[in-house]
Amino acid sequence: MQTGFETYKPMILNGTPDLHQIEVYEAEGGYEDLKKALQIPRSELVESVKKSGLRGRGGAGFSTGMKWSFIGKDKPRYLIVNGDESEPGSFKDRQIFEFNPHLLIEGCLITAYALEIKTCYIYIRGEYAKWIRIVEDALADSRKKGLVGKTLPGSDFSVEIYVHKGAGAYICGEESALMNSIEGKRAYPRLKPPFPAVVGLWGKPTIINNVETITNIPLIVRLGAENYAKIGAPDHPGPMLYGLSGHINKPGIYELPSGMLISDLIYKIGGGIPDGKKLKAVIPGGSSMPILRADMIDGVTMNAESLKKAGTSIGTAGMIIMDEDTDIVEAVARLTHFYHHESCGQCTPCREGTGWIEMIYQKFLRDEAEPRDIDLLLSICKQMEMRTICALADGAAWPVRFSIERFREEYEKHCKKPESPGWNYKMRAVSGV
């Protein structure tokens, strides 16, 4: 378990003041990686992204180089940068927009060049009004410098980049819903296959990556695939933007090598839990990922392999930390409200299941639930998982399923006492028919 985080020097959020200004960025060696990349044959670039081991930072952790190699032959092709960032617990892309937008633009240009793409969309959720302005200003500056929209230096290739504002829906972050949204349609996720790399935006081959994923591309060009692959955990290498939120003394986004110990992140980086309280639970990566009990995090590191063994997943590496006084049922109830509110309502199980689950949680919060409601929740989860068009339904079911599996006693505490009037009444009514 190699971390070496004490000596790690951030490359994405490196703290340089005013880095969002193109002069500062260029003085720091900005856009040099682009020039370097333009000298490399395209196939070699794709190959080195594959070799770097970079995995998508948008939630699914799919190999970026692999995704790129699936791109269809048809043209035109499109690049989309997914900056919808709406999952509770995730706020890392915002930092990139704010503090290093040019690195993102540089990443877009290199990616577009490597995949012969002439049009790129950066999709940013509408609530990020301030950060949209920063990115648009940065785009205008790099346009003035002859980068965006112009023939790239030393090549005959030009790339246009547009910022597209979302209207505020979590589902717009799902890649195919996002494409419908750009096309001006209702953001319903599309059936897959066909996958976006073959039939994507406007029916054309489209590569869609998370903001953080794209920002890593210039770094791979700068360091070389081999050196990049040495950063952090070998199965999931590279710098990673960890989000710490919840019951933590120093919440925020921290750039560190991948594969950090969860405990180090909480206690060494995040300064521990306020008032010296004990840890109760951690959701490692955005609210959809399975929750871990405090006694499950020993030796667990933030990379795909280790988290899988622990029974969860990295998601967006936005960790939600909960102290000993947290009421898990209440916390999850808040999440069920989110998923109910955000389900696009296309698939039957998700449309109906998310709402039903929320109503049952409300019953728990009123202390009116019965033990059978716990099993009912699990049964509803089973009816939702893996049966829908997109992964939102799974994301809605997992917090419920895993919090019940791992904190069942908390749910039982919210049930009404057997002797209280009306207990079991409804159950008899249903089964007696």
Binding site: H341, E352, G353, M359, L376, Q383, K426
Partner: protein
């Protein structure tokens, strides 16, 4: 040809087809191979995959690294089952694919129960007052595949009810299951884009765009049949009859030259509604709203028994009296002064008898029909020619004649007596020509001012009361079928009549049937034969079928066809032979 295995049963399939298409029997002559329940899938619409009702287990042959297939110890190929259930509507087949439906897979059966439980938690379950009850896929699928009860114990979501989508459609958002069929129909079939889903999650429902007007969409009402629940109901038919009270008769529409295949729904000898009938040769799955809504003329204001004009007034008469009077009138003019006006609204058999009456009995060469054209042909179904059988008339050698020409001939005294077969005198002749005409004999469906002018009025049966052949503008021959009874019913017709539950099971004491809805009218050909007999020529035909037999023998284009060979979709005449006869 690739083979797939559904529940272990090998089925032929073609690449590009989906599992549901194969299961529905696309390569099996349309005969279903296995039942897969569905709500959002429809063969004419794009794949939405949103209802999740058609989930199946799917497996592919296990591939080896070298590209070959892995086999078990008996050399049988091994199957790699996918961890997730997949939607049969969206999954394209490949050779050697294995599919497990609810018949062989626990998890599929359980998923179906799950989906149905979800659909029903917010469904109002107001079947007792819902028009769809009795023909509702949600009801049927729930009975067949659903769970036994519900575990939902909260108040259901409330959404808009009784919304008027224009004057033709009423929408109940609470019953809607969000299958998006209606949205896709307007996006893809009419391409008019009136609807979109609004809201999110279980508050979703389709809503009319602010500026959209479905009254201007001539196909708007097809969504009523597409809707798998009672969310979309016909404003015209709403609350008028339960499905099981009506008999359903497969027949064709006579609104225009398309002759769309339809189903006539009849209770107590009144047409209650019309719905489309699938026919790949003619109209696909849909019909125009005019085909659906225009049926009052079959029920109301009908001519009930013959009448004669006595002292400027119509007086009822018996059939023999009326026929006698008509014959006498015809005989009083030289044949060359008599015009037999056949009709592109009448059946092939009636037109054939009209032609025989003119050529063989009266021996006049004056025969023709007046075309009815309005508007233009559109790209979907609607035709400018508003008659169902112009093709048939032409085939029999009956030529079109314009109202001007006919009126001219009447006014110049060339024509003194006109026999109108199933058409409107006011449409066929100008007012001054009508007033100048010495003798008008009319066979018509409905009472009107124009029939008042006639010397003899003979009530004719409509297409809804008889069997008869019609040929649409593309040369597809189809049959109408009797859906409602006439007063003195020809027993041959009764055999062909569809029965409702009420027809079959009601006793004479269940006062649901009223004799006054039975009209005293006769099929056109029958009247013409009686007329011919009175004029001295006896035809041997007892039924339309026998007349058709004769036509079929005389005209090559029909190629020896009989009623049976026309089948439920009709039969397309061969173009080469068509020309031969027309020459």
């Amino acid at each position: 040809m690739p083979t797939i295995y559904i529940d272990g049963k090998p089925c032929q399939a073609e690449l590009g087809q989906t599992i549901i298409e194969v299961a529905d029997g696309i390569n099996n002559g349309g005969k279903q191979i296995v039942d897969i329940p569905r709500f959002c899938y429809h063969p004419t619409l794009s794949i939405a995959g949103n209802c999740r009702m058609c989930l199946v287990e799917m497996g592919l042959p296990k591939k080896k690294k070298d590209g070959g297939f892995e086999t078990d110890e008996h050399g049988r190929p091994l199957t790699q089952w996918m961890p997730k259930l997949t939607t049969a509507c969206s999954t394209e087949i490949c050779d050697g694919m294995h599919v497990r439906t609810h018949h062989t897979s626990e998890s599929v059966a359980e998923a179906q129960k799950g989906v149905l439980e979800f659909i029903l938690i917010n469904h109002p379950l107001d079947c007792p007052i819902c028009d769809q009850a009795g023909e509702c896929p949600l009801q049927e699928i729930t009975y067949t595949y659903g769970p036994e009860g519900s575990r939902f114990e909260f108040e259901k979501v409330h959404k808009p009810k009784r919304m008027a989508w224009g004057s033709k459609i009423t929408f109940d958002a609470e019953r809607c299951i969000n299958c998006t069929r209606c949205v896709r129909f307007y996006d893809e079939y009419t391409q008019t884009h009136e609807l979109e889903i609004v809201q999110r999650g279980w508050n979703n429902y389709p809503a009319l765009a602010p500026s959209a007007n479905l009254d201007q969409n001539p196909y708007a009402m097809n969504v009523i049949d597409l809707c798998p629940v009672g969310a979309l109901t016909s404003a015209d038919h709403r609350f008028k009859a339960r499905v099981w009270e009506m008999s359903a008769t497969d027949t064709i529409s006579v609104q225009d030259a398309r002759c769309s295949s339809i189903r006539l729904w009849v209770r107590d000898n009144r047409v209650m509604r019309i719905t489309p009938r699938e026919n790949p040769l003619v109209n696909g799955y849909y019909i125009a709203d005019d085909d659906r809504l225009n049926y009052q003329w079959i029920n109301d204001n009908r001519l009930d028994g013959p009448s004669l004009k006595v002292n400027q007034e119509q007086q009822t008469a018996s059939w023999p009296e009326a026929i006698e009077a008509a014959a006498k009138s015809i005989k009083s003019y030289p044949p060359d002064n008599v015009f037999v006006l056949a009709s592109a609204r009448a059946s092939l058999e009636t037109n054939f008898m009209a032609k025989s009456l003119a050529n063989d009995v009266i021996q006049t060469s004056h025969i023709g029909y007046v075309p009815h054209a309005k508007g233009t042909d559109d790209e979907l179904l609607i035709r400018a020619d508003k008659t169902p059988n112009a093709f048939g008339c032409n085939l029999l050698g009956i030529d079109p004649v314009s109202q001007e020409q006919l009126s001219q001939d009447v006014k110049s005294g060339k024509i003194k007596c006109v026999i109108i077969v199933e058409d409107d005198p006011h449409f066929c002749l100008s007012l001054d020509a009508l007033s100048k005409l010495a003798a008008l004999i009319v066979m018509a469906y409905t009472k009107s001012e124009s029939t008042d002018n006639a010397k003899v009025v003979l009530p004719a049966a409509t297409f809804a009361e008889q069997i008869g052949a019609y040929i649409n503008f593309e040369g597809v021959m189809q049959l109408t079928r009797p859906a409602k009874a006439l007063k003195y019913q020809n027993r041959e017709l009764m055999k062909d009549m569809a029965l409702s539950r009420l027809d079959k099971h009601a006793t004479q004491f269940d006062a649901w049937s009223k004799d006054q809805h039975k009209i005293d009218a006769k099929p056109g050909w029958e009247i013409l034969i009686e007329l011919a007999k009175c004029l001295g020529k006896t035809y041997p035909y007892q039924t339309a079928r026998e007349i058709f037999q004769t036509i079929s023998e005389q005209y090559n284009a029909l190629n020896g066809m009989d009623y049976k060979s026309i089948g439920k979709f009709g039969k397309k005449l061969q173009p080469a032979q068509e020309e031969q006869t027309l020459l």
